[in-house]
């Protein structure tokens, strides 16, 4: 019996873990200061041109890091946006300049009504049950790969 090639075994274990725990998928040797979890987006009707992505960033390091870029095959452009509230309950949102999202030590939640990632000019419909790969680039910690869970409403 030929033992499975170690790399393939590791890869399949990682893939299985990712499927089971919805956790971050990490390449070997990746920086562990930054953990990204609970990445999700709401399934939207096909007419919607943009979708918001939400996630939690845990910075386990002692120093602040910075989110400098985000990338996904599902979005032609992916940029951080923040929601603002004016008088009369009027709400809107504006882009945050590239690299301006500071990630202080601790927990940073990107959530509805707050800071989030805008997936623009979608290349595919985001349907419930899909898992969309997302790459986040941090100034110090480097790249973190996660899967975005597309939830029904």
């Amino acid at each position: 019996v030929t033992p499975p090639r170690p790399l393939a075994a590791v890869a399949s274990i990682l893939a299985a873990c990712a499927l089971v725990v919805n956790g971050p998928v990490r390449a070997a040797g990746q920086d562990t200061r930054i953990i990204v979890q609970d990445a999700w987006a709401r399934a939207m009707p096909p007419v919607a041109t943009s979708s918001e992505l939400y996630l939690v960033i845990l910075n386990q390091g002692a120093a602040a890091d910075r989110l400098v870029a985000a990338q996904s095959e599902a979005c032609a452009r992916l940029e951080p946006y923040e929601t603002y509230t004016l008088g009369q309950g009027m709400m809107g949102m504006r882009p945050i300049p590239a690299g301006a999202v500071e990630v202080p030590p601790g927990r940073l939640e990107l959530k509805p009504g707050g800071l989030h990632l805008m997936c623009m000019e979608k290349r595919q419909d985001l349907r419930a049950g899909m898992r969309v790969p997302l790459r986040l680039r941090f100034r110090d910690a480097g790249d973190v790969l996660v899967e975005v869970d597309i939830r029904a409403r």
Partner: protein, 242 residues
């Protein structure tokens, strides 16, 4: 849940001190809606949270207690004067012209939004949808939800129909001429304005994000500001649908 103070004025007697809501001009109605919404949004966040937590307690003695359960404190912002909902006519996603009063006898939820709205509107509609699913079927059947477009330029009836197709027959999309939309929004204290988006064609619309709750007797009873959970909505709706 603590009961309302003993000897407090009943909701009906409290309301009788207010000017006859159906006689008040539309602008007047918009003003109290704004006052209610501003109370929630102008104060610092922590203060707003404290006030929001306190509002049901403060109001429990004056207004908003359902007859069936006088101790019930609404989670939404309670309309103190219960004005009669301003009637309007707009174009439904089916292409048919419909009036709000066509749905008299139903509990109606109005939400002003738009189909290209990437986060605030889908979040709110999802909470509303979940709230309806949490209600007993006999109650949910008495509710109609209206998404009134603040982006009539892009939101054709067809587009609204496609957008709402997942939500079921209780949801109706409404659009119209820009002037029609402006009049309805003003009557309900809703502000909106076009702002820059990712591309010129993909512009965004800032807008007042709240759900207006109109009871089966066509009185405006509650506002659900952005962030109201489906559970809180369902609890309040249950008390308006005995």
């Amino acid at each position: 849940m603590r009961a309302a103070p003993v000897g407090s004025r009943s909701a009906d007697r409290g309301a009788s001190h207010a000017p006859r809501p159906d006689k008040a001009p539309a602008g007047e109605r918009a003003r109290w809606l704004l006052a209610d919404v501003d109370r929630r949004f102008r104060a610092p966040k922590w203060l707003a949270n404290v006030l929001l937590a306190a509002v049901p307690w403060l109001l429990a003695g004056m207004v908003g207690t359902a007859a069936a359960d006088p101790g019930y404190a609404f989670r939404g912002i309670v309309s103190e004067t219960r004005p009669r909902a301003t009637d309007f006519t707009l174009t439904a996603h089916t292409g048919k012209r419909v009036r709000l009063s066509d749905f008299d006898g139903r509990l109606r939820l109005l939400y002003f939004g738009y189909t290209n709205c990437p986060g605030i509107c889908p979040t709110t509609l999802a909470e509303v949808h979940q709230a309806l699913r949490a209600l007993e079927p006999r109650r949910a059947a008495r509710v109609r939800v209206f998404l009134i477009s603040v982006d009539p330029k892009r939101d054709t009836p067809e587009r609204l129909g496609a957008h709402l197709s997942h939500f079921g027959p209780a949801f109706t999309g409404l659009t119209g001429k820009p002037a029609e939309i402006a009049a309805v929004a003003a009557a309900y204290g809703v502000y909106y304005r076009v702002t820059e988006g990712p591309t010129p064609a993909d512009y965004l619309v800032d807008h007042t994000s709240m759900v207006v709750v109109i009871d089966e007797a066509s009185a405006v009873r509650l506002l659900f500001p952005f962030g109201t959970s489906s559970g809180d909505m369902a609890a309040d709706l249950r008390h308006l649908l005995p």
